[in-house]
């Protein structure tokens, strides 16, 4: 197993989340907002979608060197399962589910003569003898079969769940009546499982979302991009949180020169247009990497370092907003009676900060983390478009869009790369936005009344 830098940080993040969840279990002030979230249909539905994406992202974060390969390549668990998709490249563009290439070329027929036409794909629809007549019915049949598999699988899961409920509660009437939110969760789950089963089954025979310019499967690219989006959205917050929390609370609590210095730092950082700061830093990393080639042997290590560095830079440009919010909130909190009482009782300042201030600003931290997530995923696309985002060899939606930009001018147009990136990105960001709304409603004391 090979642990890349971002992998390690993702594992740490997972453990941190589990640890915090364990620490906070059963705490009354956390339970109430969590119940609010659990009762929200949109919130739970988007949570299921997010968890599905996270699952794929985690699968893609377990890297290892395949035993039988001689080359120095590092692949992930997801790559391993998607090996057929990864290796069955075509020559160039082909439309989704197509059996022939996108462009005409000279073909050599069996009898030796040459003909100008659309050559068959090497892998997509190879099993068909007469694609003209069999194609549509075969696609429908395969899709139906995959869908049935998925529906069966999700049905099985639901049966298991209901069985467990029945055993634990004993009462059959109570066990089989699900709340409105629970019904939504299961409905979304059935859709996701069936859809992904259909796509997986189809992708064994066809290129479900077509192939790109060098003949790589677009579906595979889009799925691989999930990890990049998630890494950027989560690791960036992991990097910016310590800075924002420590500086924000200290500035608000101690005021005076501490406040002045911290305000000076974040105003300075704010003053630089963030895109330019990112551009400048990424340029510098490029120069550094070009001059220290020996440290970055494998392409994937190099791309990973750049991804991590991008998270770092995004964290540096993004922490100021949260820091300002926390400072304002701490300024308010330090005048509260309970903080003043603690001060009067002679409690140490560090204890006051940890016990009384920190827990009471946590809802702001949580809300801003979920709110930032979607904007970071969107920012990745823009940054990659300007060539200051992730490494060009990394799979990401931004790189897909960047590559697909000129394809719109082709005739007939190559729409599938762009649509695939759009579809995946839109699903993730929409789910994140809806979930952020629910979290905000549940945790923000100003909004919980409504």
């Amino acid at each position: 197993m090979v642990v890349l830098w971002t992998d390690a940080l993702i594992y740490i993040l997972c453990f941190a989340v589990l640890g915090i969840a364990f620490f906070l279990r059963g705490k009354e002030h956390i339970k109430r907002p969590l119940q609010n979230i659990a009762h929200s249909k949109a919130g739970m539905a988007s949570l299921v979608v997010l968890l599905f994406f996270v699952l794929i992202g985690l699968l893609d974060s377990v890297h290892f060197k395949p035993a039988n390969s001689k080359s120095n390549e590092i692949i992930s668990l997801l790559d391993y399962w998607a090996t057929p998709l990864r290796e069955r490249g075509e020559k160039t563009y082909s439309a989704p589910l197509a059996t022939t290439l996108y462009s005409k070329e000279m073909m050599t027929l069996a009898d030796g003569s040459t003909q100008w036409g659309y050559p068959r794909l090497e892998f997509g629809g190879r099993h068909l003898d007469y694609p003209e007549t069999q194609h549509l019915s075969d696609v429908l049949k395969k899709a139906g079969y995959g869908f049935a598999q998925g529906a069966g699988l999700s049905g099985l899961i639901i049966l298991c769940y209901l069985g467990v409920r029945l055993i634990s509660q004993g009462d059959s009437k109570c066990a089989f009546t699900l709340g409105a939110a629970a019904r939504t969760v299961w409905a979304v789950m059935i859709i996701i499982v069936s859809l992904s089963c259909t796509l997986i089954y189809l992708s064994a025979y066809y290129h479900v979302l077509g192939t790109d310019k060098v003949g790589e499967d677009v579906f595979y690219q889009a799925v691989k991009s999930i990890r990049t989006g998630l890494v950027l959205g989560t690791l960036t917050t992991l990097i910016m949180l310590p800075m924002a929390i420590i500086f924000g609370i200290l500035a608000g609590f101690f005021r005076g020169w501490v406040d002045d210095v911290i305000q000076y730092i974040y105003t300075t950082l704010n003053a630089i247009p963030s895109v330019l700061l990112i551009a400048a830093s990424i340029l510098m990393v490029q120069v550094y990497m070009a001059n220290h080639e020996q440290d970055f042997t494998s392409v994937i290590v190099r791309a990973d370092m750049r991804l991590l560095f991008l998270c770092l830079i995004l964290g540096v440009t993004n922490w100021t907003g949260l820091c300002r919010l926390l400072r304002a909130e701490t300024l308010k909190l330090r005048e509260m009676e309970y903080v003043q009482a603690a001060q009067a009782l002679g409690v140490k300042e560090s204890i006051i900060l940890l016990r009384h201030i920190l827990p009471n600003v946590m809802h702001i931290v949580l809300i801003s983390v979920v709110l930032d997530f979607s904007s970071l995923v969107l920012a990745e696309a823009v940054l990659s478009y300007i060539n200051i985002g992730v490494d060009p060899t990394t799979y990401s939606w931004g790189n897909m869009i960047n590559g697909a930009r000129l394809e719109m001018a082709r005739e007939p147009i190559v729409w599938w790369s762009l649509s695939a990136a759009f579809l995946f990105m839109f699903t993730l960001v929409l789910a994140a936005n809806l979930f952020a709304d629910t979290v905000q409603d549940a945790f923000d004391p100003r909004r919980s009344g409504g």
Partner: protein, 325 residues
């Protein structure tokens, strides 16, 4: 008032100094001028002579912070840090890698940027605020719910898709406007319609949502209840009272970005090939022209500081409760 403004101007100086030091560290300490020279000249087969020539051409042939070989005051002044910083503070940005004067380029390219950014801001503000007001007016109804859902959907789509989609449908399929390009004077309008439209559309989701929360906060307040009790209709309270009071946060949010409009929008300008500062910056980033990027960073922070100052002044103008001291 005058005293306050002067003090703020003085406060801006350490701020800009901080920006300057930060960019200096980024551009000259993380990678030495030698590294940059090698990068620019290509990695392999670079002679020492070529590197030192390149450095001399760009004025990077002095020591970074301390010139031990020079005499007296020149120990400090004959360094890269001093010369480049003084240049920035006097708005003498020097020469780009392609040999053009950066200051002149900026002056020339600032106007197309403004011609794109200003209409986008104004129309966007108008559309966002009216949309938000509509949602507040019909609050609690299905219309508001549909509006919120629409906002969330609109803001979940990357701005790149708006641009690509807009260019494809409006310019390529319907052929209503040219796909990209720019012209001087009034002829520029037909090139600007589409980018302005797309700019407004891509911002409407988050903008309208934000203004809606501002209005809703205002609607809950006592004076609104009094206004209603007085017998004013819902529209009257909304336009006469709520809108006016909510304008304070809106205005301050707008004023701070007003100077930054000169900087232009990076992606818009590069997609529509408008020769503004945004596309200038992108070109510089792509050709790794450090002098331009550094100049733009500095310019951006100067404009931001001006924006902060304007915000404070506008506060006193619109809100009589605020006094500067």
């Amino acid at each position: 008032m005058i005293h306050y403004i002067i003090r703020r101007f003085l406060y801006a100086f350490p701020l800009l100094m901080g920006v300057n030091i930060l960019t200096f560290v980024l551009f000259f300490i993380v990678n030495s001028p030698d590294d940059m020279a090698r990068m620019q000249l290509g990695q392999k087969h670079v002679t020492e002579q070529a590197v030192s020539n390149w450095k001399q051409q760009h004025g990077y042939d002095e020591p970074l912070l301390w010139n031990a070989n020079a005499q007296g005051k020149e120990k400090i002044t004959r360094t890269i840090f001093y010369q480049k910083s003084v240049g920035l503070f006097l708005f003498r940005f020097g020469v780009s890698d392609s040999g053009r004067n950066i200051g002149a380029d900026i002056q020339e390219r600032m106007w197309p940027s403004l011609a794109l950014a200003l209409p986008t801001l104004c129309v966007g503000l108008l559309v966002d605020i009216s949309f938000a007001l509509m949602m507040v007016l019909f609050r609690g109804s299905y219309l508001e719910h549909a509006g919120i859902v629409l906002c969330v959907i609109l803001m979940s789509i990357s701005s790149l898709f708006y641009i690509i989609g807009g260019q494809f449908f409006i310019a390529k399929l319907l052929r209503l406007v040219p796909i990209s390009g720019y012209d001087d004077g009034l002829a520029a309008i037909k090139f600007l319609i589409l980018p302005v439209l797309i700019g407004v559309f891509s911002g409407v989701g988050s903008g309208a949502r934000w203004y809606r929360t501002l209005f809703l906060e205002e609607v809950e307040k006592d004076y609104v209840r009094t206004a209603r009790a007085k017998g004013l209709t819902e529209t009257q309270t909304l336009f006469r009272h709520v809108l006016r009071n909510a304008l304070i946060p809106i205005l301050t949010g707008v004023v701070v970005i007003l100077p930054l409009l000169f900087m232009g929008s990076l992606i818009m300008e590069s997609f529509f090939s408008i020769p503004g500062l945004g596309s200038y910056t992108i070109d510089a980033i792509n050709s790794q022209d450090f002098a331009i990027v550094r100049a733009m960073v500095f310019l951006g922070s100067v404009l931001y500081v001006i924006g902060l100052l304007l915000t404070d002044i506008s506060y006193t103008l619109v809100d009589p409760r605020v006094r500067l001291s």
